[in-house]
Symmetry: none
Subunit: 488 residues, 2 copies
């Protein structure tokens, strides 16, 4: 379907409203999403963010954009907080487990990839690591210092927020005003290295016990967490790119700092559209390990947890997430997931039934209008719950056709099946986990024979022979008869 | 079983003989294996090396060692040859395909992981990348220059082989003598930067077209290939570690250069035991793309190749590889693989039958002796073909018990089943897979994607959309990239 991709609107956190999406270079999209810190198993809230942006990535691809999707791996330097007192989380874990930090990184990176795979997320085009870009970060720090927006202090380098704010608007993304922030701040101990309370470390001096440290013009140390995303997004997407995504909790200070770092180094606003995904709750409460209100993806799939009545398939969980808009909070409860499971299976069943619907000369409903409603929903800031509601409207219509209360034409039946499948499987990224390979071989073969039939009708013997010979080499024989072709 | 792990012998390439394995730190093993260059799909010869060292890793773990297994990813700086005329392979590919080098890296790293997973290889504990360790490499170059064994020349840095050889023995691993090498060398053009013909680049000046380059004390450039393994093995395993593995083709010059670099930087011999895996041939000839005598792992699994009569399961291929000693060449033929397949299935069937064997008060054979023969084989430089022969001896015994010609006690039956399973599944890394259903879908999909590719090349969007949407309706997602399409 050729629905105009210029209709896509995105809620831009920077403007606080929905705006028409207009990429910097026509036909191309640069997309950066803050990835996981691999010092532990990825938690469900992070998964929601990555699944949301997987859906965004998929829809952009579906609209025909060539997308470069970059999602980083934070494998060092993630301070626990901005007080500069925080211990590097990865180092802490490694020391506790008495293993090399990069062993922890390897283990949890593999675990993360497995979970993303379970959730049927496409791989990003580039997955850069923080430790793989220390030089780029040092380079950026050098430039920021040269431009006067950072200073060295006792082997660390701090970003001078107040000085930056005098020239630029620190807080424009989160809507915070530096003056208010300052007046609300108590004097903290151990912060004497910093000129101002909101200055943040972009390079941190390493103590002698630190294992992960690198040589820099300011001595041995490691980069501050905020910096890696600026250095890597710039490297792979340019000084200005289209979309930056992440969880709502990263808006301040992380993304605010990213803007400041980029502006301080090259004077350009790095991102056109800032997108923020919302948080998860579990039984109405914030997920948190410290209050024992937390569940891991694996525990959700296996059923081994204290919160759910039964295990849930990753595809049911994904469908459940898609039933909420990415900017809304979402509460995980056993009841809600069970309801999603039911709905999801109803959808799958209906899709499998479409091709058996009785057809008529005319359709009593406009299928084009139904399909348009799918695009309208997605073009409205990726409104997946409305999309799913519209798909369920189509299900109602299909059931009415089945009962004989409504009619559908043969071509509309084909169109509806294709578009429902495209939106459910390609755009929302779901899959029918019950379909085994052999189950899939049969419909794939049907498609292939249909193509061959068309080639023969067009006297395109080259293509039809290619299909026949190609299949023969796999050991599949096509038999042609008056009634069409079959295979064995 | 408490068989003495102190009995393990390893053929040490450095000494040219089998020696008793004696790790530097009791109970711990540091193992480094040269990993793939991710500018293309991993080839079968590389896979053999990685499978061989997976077996080594598994046996060391089985013996109770705490092993830190490091296998690098070469994602930049692999010069095609040592003439310093070679273009960086990854850059070449990226430029041809007009994509960002790190996109190529991501794609082929994921592909490599998938193939390793198909072959049931355990993940190394650390998988460091060359681009992730540029600083460590610059650091090492600095030290080598300071120690007088390297010199800067026109923005590049060369290792001074002749000077090194005057103090140390360059060629001790490969048994080559620098004097002989020199007398056999013609004067080459374009090598004027170098003082001696065998000097090799440890830092290479980047031309202005180079995308992958980093700032260094010698200007913008990138590290020489030999250096990355020295920098990364030292970082994660220390100046001296136990085992370094790789393909036979890496012995000279790559591993020779590694020794020289380490010695030149810290005066220590880096590796106690050098292990080299041997090469593959295909129908008696060297595998080579240029003479069309080459097969990729995926082509072997799918059966889509010009060399084999049928597809082979990854586990059959692994079993086939294990039937040869890692230091012997191995010839891939359809007949040999078919024979391995038969043998493998016979083994699997027998193992599944053990628990139904009739038992007696006594065993007519010493099962302990059989089990000891398993350990003896593996302790003899990981002699997997002898291990498999010994396992087949056990199969004979089991069949005799079945026929009533021999007897087995209940505890021996338990022991035999446990040990056979341990050696077959844990040590040799095989598994009872049932990939039959995948056999046909995968090649049919390849054919379909090929048709779609052609349609796209002909700008026949109707057909290409039809295929994409048709597949989407089956729940199959196509992902396009510059290097082709994949599906999931």
């Amino acid at each position: 379907m050729n629905f105009n991709k210029k209709q896509l609107t995105i809620y831009n956190s920077l403007e606080g409203k929905k705006v028409l999406f207009n990429p910097i270079k026509d036909g191309f999209v640069g997309l950066y999403v803050c990835g996981p810190t691999v010092y532990n198993k990825v938690h469900l809230g992070n998964c929601r963010t990555f699944i949301s942006f997987d859906m965004v990535y998929r829809y952009l691809l579906h609209l025909g954009y060539k997308v470069r999707y970059v999602r980083n791996i934070t494998d060092v330097g993630h301070l626990v907080d901005d007080s500069d007192q925080g211990e590097d989380k990865i180092l802490k874990k490694a020391r506790l487990e008495k293993i090399e930090p990069m062993e922890v990184v390897q283990q949890y990176t593999l675990d993360f990839h497995k979970v993303m795979n379970d959730f049927n997320c496409l791989s990003p085009n580039i997955e850069p690591t923080a430790t793989g870009h220390i030089m780029e970060q040092i380079e950026m720090i050098r430039v920021i210092i040269d431009n006067g927006f950072a200073y060295e202090s006792n082997g660390s380098v701090y970003f001078d927020v107040e000085k930056y704010n005098r020239k630029q608007n620190y807080g424009e993304l989160s809507g915070r005003k530096i003056e208010d922030l300052i007046s609300n701040t108590r004097e903290l101990d151990g912060q004497t290295e910093k000129r101002g309370p909101f200055d943040f470390a972009i390079w941190k001096k390493a103590s002698s016990e630190h294992i992960m440290k690198w040589r820099s013009p300011w001595g041995f140390g490691f980069p501050g967490w905020h910096l890696e995303c600026s250095a890597m997004s710039t490297k792979y997407l340019g000084d200005e790119f289209d979309i930056h995504g992440g969880g709502m909790d990263l808006k301040f200070p992380h993304h605010e700092c990213e803007i400041a770092q980029a502006m301080a180094s090259n004077g350009k606003k790095p991102v056109r559209y800032w997108m923020h995904g919302n948080m998860l709750t579990l039984n109405g409460k914030k997920m948190s390990k410290s209050i024992d209100n937390s569940i891991l993806p694996g525990e959700l799939f296996s059923g081994e947890n204290d919160f759910m009545d039964k295990p849930f398939d990753p595809m049911v969980v994904r469908f459940f997430m898609m039933q909420a808009h990415y900017r809304s909070t979402l509460d995980f409860t056993s009841e809600a997931l069970s309801a999603a499971e039911k709905g999801y299976h109803r959808l799958l069943n209906t899709i499998n039934e479409i091709e058996n619907l009785p057809t008529n000369v005319d359709s009593s409903e406009s299928v084009l209008k139904i399909v348009k409603s799918f695009y309208d929903a997605m073009n409205d800031d990726f409104n997946t719950p409305v999309l799913i509601a519209n798909i369920f409207e189509a299900v109602k219509y299909i059931n009415s056709v089945k009962k004989g209360d409504e009619t559908i034409s043969s071509s509309d039946r084909q169109l509806l099946k294709e578009e429902m499948s495209t939106f459910l499987f390609y755009v929302l990224g779901l899959k029918d986990s019950n379909l085994k390979s052999e189950d899939r071989l049969s419909p794939v073969m049907d498609l292939l024979l249909q193509l061959r039939e068309e080639a023969r009708n067009n006297k395109d013997w080259k293509t039809s022979d290619k299909i026949r010979d190609g299949l023969a080499s796999i050991g599949i024989t096509i038999k042609d008869s008056k009634n069409g072709s079959s295979w064995d």
